[in-house]
């Protein structure tokens, strides 16, 4: 689950309404996925982002221990089971999108003036929104406390019959 997706999610537990946003993210395993940088696309996303929620989610990822953040190139795609710690250090600003780990990157606190043309800003946002993938963790409804699991990158937001019955 990407942080941009998290930014759009809201709890739909009965009776909660708009107080169900944002879902509190607890990530236990995260992967950094290189994604092709499309400045136009990122620029259009910026106005849609809820900054507070994004910062909160980014913070939980930032504070993850190193061992729980998988960097691109550690092993072949799609293997969740075995992790090998690897020497840190990547080249920032690489064209292939091999960005440094999240907790070395500054997440902008808000959109800056003229962000549409600020490549550094856009790249930072690109990394935060699209390249951070939460593999395991939970999402918690702020109002009801209901926990939704994230497993293999997929949040399961199914409510039981009692929770949805009107």
């Amino acid at each position: 689950m990407k942080l941009l997706t998290h930014n759009l999610l809201s709890s739909h537990v009965r009776g909660v309404g708009p107080r169900g946003f944002p879902l509190r993210l607890q990530a236990t395993e995260v992967r950094i996925n290189p994604v092709e940088f499309n400045p136009d696309f990122v620029a259009r996303m910026i106005p849609k982002v809820e900054w507070a929620a994004l910062l909160e989610a980014a913070e939980t990822v930032r504070t993850l221990p190193h061992a729980r953040v998988h960097l691109p190139g550690e092993w072949g795609g799609g293997e969740w089971s075995h992790r090998q710690p690897r020497a840190r250090g990547g080249t920032p600003g690489d064209d292939l999108g091999l960005c440094p780990q999240l907790h070395l990157v500054e997440v902008p606190k808000g959109p800056i003036e003229g962000y549409e043309h600020d490549e550094k800003f856009l790249r930072q946002m690109h990394h935060v929104l699209l390249e951070v993938d939460v593999l395991e963790g939970t999402l918690q409804c702020p109002e009801s406390g209901r926990l939704f699991p994230i497993s293999r990158g997929i949040p399961n937001m199914l409510l039981s019959d009692e929770e949805t019955e009107t």
């Binding site: 999610l9 259009r44 997929i154």
Partner: protein, 787 residues
Amino acid sequence: MAATPPSPVGLTRRCPRTERGQGWRERAPGMVRGHGPVGVRCGCSRGVYAAPLSPLGWGTSDCSPGGVRPALSGLPSLVLGVSGCGFSQVYVTDVYRVPAVRQALRSGTSSRRQFSGLARPPNSIAMDSNSQSNYKLSKTEKKFLRKQIKARHTLLRHEGIETVSYATQSLVVANGGLGNGVSRNQLLPVLEKYGLVDALLMPPHKPYSFVRYRTAEEAKKAYVTLNGKEIVDDLGQKILLYLNFVEKAQWKELGLQALPPGLMVVEEIISSEDEKMLLESINWTEDIDNQNVQKYLKHRRVKHFGYEFHYENNNVDKDMPLPGGLPGICDSFLEKWLKEGFIKHKPDQLTVNQYEPGHGIPAHIDTHSAFEDEIVSLSLGSEIVMDFKHPDGVTVPVMLPRRSLLVMTGESRYLWTHGITPRKFDTVQASKGLQSGIITSDVGDLTLSKRGMRTSFTFRKVRQTPCNCSYPLVCDSQMKETPPSFPESAREASQLEQDYVHRVYEEIAEHFSSTRHTPWPRVVEFLKSLPCGSLVADVGCGNGKYLGVNKELYMIGCDRSQKLVDICRERCFQALVCDALAVPLCSGSCDACISIAVIHHFSTAERRVAALQELVRLLRPGGQALVYVWAMEQEYNKKKSKYLRENRISQGKEEGTSSDTAMPELLVEQVPNVGSRDSECCVSSVTDLPEGGHKARTVTNAKLPVHTNRTSFPSQDLLVPWHHQGNPGEGKPGHPAGAHDPGPVFHRYYHVFCEGELEATCQTLNSVSILQSYYDQGNWCVILQKV
């Protein structure tokens, strides 16, 4: 002969005898050039028409595709036209019967001499076109000629075999086929007398064969000598052979066949002495039981041990075992077979069947609820060919030699029918003799085998619990389950959807995904029309077919099925598991939504509206939603939808189409009046809604009908079968790769929409305007906009 062609004496275009002559073509490939329209030929044996005499005169030439060739046989012929009957040559038996000839003579434009020597008796001796013989044919000769022509005609019309009148290496032997009792070892020696036979091809069940000689000369000899010759068939009856030349032998070839899965034949499992002993051990004296049973069995004698098999319901009475159990002598065999691993379970029921030649047993599946998986049958006394048939229509004939054990398990026991055709001869493979295996379709190797008296010992284990096989449609245990009915409350609706939508998709996810790979063009069009950077929700995304269509969008897929969402994830799309009635996205967060083939899975009108309402909630003002649902009307504007058109019976090899690929099957139940097609019913399902709560139903506890795939829908609410395949692409050991096990059948609930229903439903929503409404390949579609 006159130097200049005589004037045309008249062109008859119809056969005087049969009045046929339709489709008359004046130019045919290979037509004799320069002679213009010349003759009409007709399939009747006397057909000859007169033609304007050509400079070639009345010759013995014929036209066949490819040009004019001199006729070899010396049989007089007037060729040259091609009538609708399709005969390529015509024989004159009596040239003076030709009206035009008579006319020409009468008028003096031709002289008798022109005709003399032309009509020749078609006998086997006078092949020499130079010899002058009487043009009058004897009665027998005429009769023979008629029959030969008739044979050619029949071959052409019914079998598509085109004969030619010039000599070639190959001949078709009419009346000399496996289908009319002539076996290879009778025919071959007869043919070999005239030359070296390259091949004798005897297509099964056909009344003709093809023989190819090393040279055309040899074929000619055979033709001349054998035509009309009498031989004796296997039953001692006299048969007349009629030979004709062909360019090549032609018949329909069957595809490669494999034994039905789970089938095994173990040869020589007992010795001849044991066979004799077993046969002698049966006491066929008439007793009361036998008399009762005989009234059900036309063809054969039976005796039961262990449990009585009842032919009225094709089942056993588990609570009434027969005293004595299985005969003692069988015990030792059964123990041996168990130990050697030929069988896995000890049977407790034995049926002894005696088949005289000409006896058979109709194709059937042994009742699932009566017997366990393994059924074994020992063949004694004579070999036989047993036919196994798959519901798709594939038939596999299997040779069961004497003293062999047939073991049927799994699919061959539960799904394929087996039967023995009542006949006196079986078509078998000459080279394999009496070895077990499938009878090939190689017509170069087929011959007939006369049946003898065969006794079978069929051992089975009586079942104590209901059958739970993977073939529910042919399973009497599983078919007894009560079919679901139309839901009467929200809870029932939810339960119905759980059983007949969610559970099914979880089971079939992988197979389903493999048939859903082509995005529909108009959906793609919608997605591509959205601006870069749009946030789009795909509610009911399935295997993520549309999530990657436009890379400039940020698409989030949701689906109820974890397995399908897993597939989306594998393809690196953003997807989550949720219900379409409660999508966990913020209100107004989406620039657009799509919901393709989803809402028709909701079983009540309220739920369908709620699903649409949820889509609208997700949209920002001005955002658009595209909704596709299955249409009741699968034929619209007189055009059948792709779903109806693809009426292929697949053999398990699935080709991706955007709709179900499934085999047609029986309609299980027809329900009157549940959601009929008239528009009144459609409207009422919508206008009832503002009242909320339950709708008054005219039919209570109405059962949902099961739909026959690839036919039109009988009602709006129904169950549609999905025929689940095993792992696609994985071959099972011992099976050719690509051979699939037809697996269990799943039923999915659908409410198909009738014309205008989707629109009407959308109109009840708040703050929505309908931008477009159309029909696309069997679906009703709308594009909504949030105002």
